[in-house]
Amino acid sequence: MSLNKLNQLYLAVVMDHANHPHHKSSLPDATKSVELHNVSCGDDIRVFIKTKADRIEEISFTGNGCTISQASASMMTDALKDLTIPVAIKTCDDFFQLTMGKTLTSKAKKALGDAAILGSLAEFPARIKCATLAWHAAKEAVGGEIK
């Protein structure tokens, strides 16, 4: 295999999110924040959320990581902002299913936004943890049960 396969993972939209991440800052008036570590590389991501009446009013993240973790965190903030907590939890679960190679309904894919293209991660199993870190932190932040 040549490096061509890398193009399936490092798509322009992924590189764009990684190089110019959305909502990358701390949130001084956050109602909750959760920090998680990728134990294999030492990368860390902290996700901040501000909820109001069961709705994610604001969401952001800080931390360092590889292209995949940074892009995925950025995409996550886009996807979860303005969702109600139950829908946000379901969206996180859909993302976990996607990275494991499951086919999602078109409605679920649409809810993931740019993150839907990370389905190619199933071809790179060693990198799934990089992509899911921010989503696990977000799910924990909204009180979702961690499986």
């Binding site: 295999m1 396969k5 590389c41 990368d43 060693a126």
Partner: protein, 411 residues
Amino acid sequence: MDKKFENVIKDFPILSQKINDEPLLYLDNAATSQTPNPVLNEMVSFYQSENANVHRGVYTLANEATTAYENVREQVAEFIHAPNAKSIVYTRSTTESLNLVASSFGDLVVHESDEILITIMEHHSNLIPWQQLAKRKHAKLKYVELADDQTLDIADFKRKLTERTKIVAVTQMSNVLGVTNPIKEITRLAHQQHAYVVVDAAQSVAHQSIDVQDLDVDFLAFSGHKMLGPTGIGVLFGKAELLDEMNPVQFGGEMIEAVSRTQAKWQSAPWKFEAGTQNIGGVIGLGAAITYISKLKMTWIEATEHKLLTYLLPQLVQIKGLTIYGPQTVAEHGSIVAFNLANLHPHDVATGLDMLGVEVRAGHHCAQPLMTTLGVESTVRASLSFYNSLADMDRFVYDVKMVKEFFNRES
């Protein structure tokens, strides 16, 4: 390519496979080494013809298994030039060996306000056990820092070694920086202060001859799986008189001399530390690995790996944007090269190399305090073995450049 190398390669069928449609280039030997056929065959043969539990049965097969198990102890002693087999304890891993020293011996000699001196380049397995011991005993844990050339700062070691130092724990070869530390000098200085020296030889054991008597170390730990043997078998060497003083940390079958309702009396060392049925098959594999290394000769292994590194390091240094951690010169470098490529994350680099069939490690290498000192979260690491070739080095350098170009094009 010499004849010996060609024959050696045939012993490692795993290396002739393809990964992602490319020939496998295995460069993660510091994490685990590959196991040659003669070692595997010896283990199969043991299970097929000699397997029984050791030190228990009076029947013939049990006696044969016991003899094989104890013969390897002699072999290990000879391999590291220990005075006798009684100073060789079988464990599960380097980690378990170091934990045994820290929890048993550490408890005996370290008290409140004492000092434990370790180095900033330690693997977590030679760091956390001491950190925990220091907490338990309200002792002080001190770190020897790096010199400017990222070797161990011996002047700093001398400064921090005091009469309060009870234990010095140090790696013989860093799993990140590739440097070999001057164990003999460290031991001499530590002993002047009546401190005991514990050496992590996990990385060095397969790459250089070890003479525990010449080094005069008090304890030395290593694993089978980093020296062509199977996983799940480790060794702790300890000076006999120190092992005698130590209490076992696991209790149960095999480690006792006699048990009553109210008390138990231990066997002598090393058997008092080997509670329960041990990894007998692993011991047999360890013995076969030592035999294999002895046949190759450690001098040949050292020379072969030195040749690879001499060829590789200057080429890597030439790559623009590539930072090598540890000494920049071959003279002070073992067969481990940790590096980063400019603004690229090690995981991205490792995924790129993986697509080209090149297997390297990316991460913190279980050395987070060292990563912090180096000012990075993680690095890429290529670690060589005698079964790599000069052509492999050329390919590796080429592939690193390809990966760099790929990501630079994208960003």
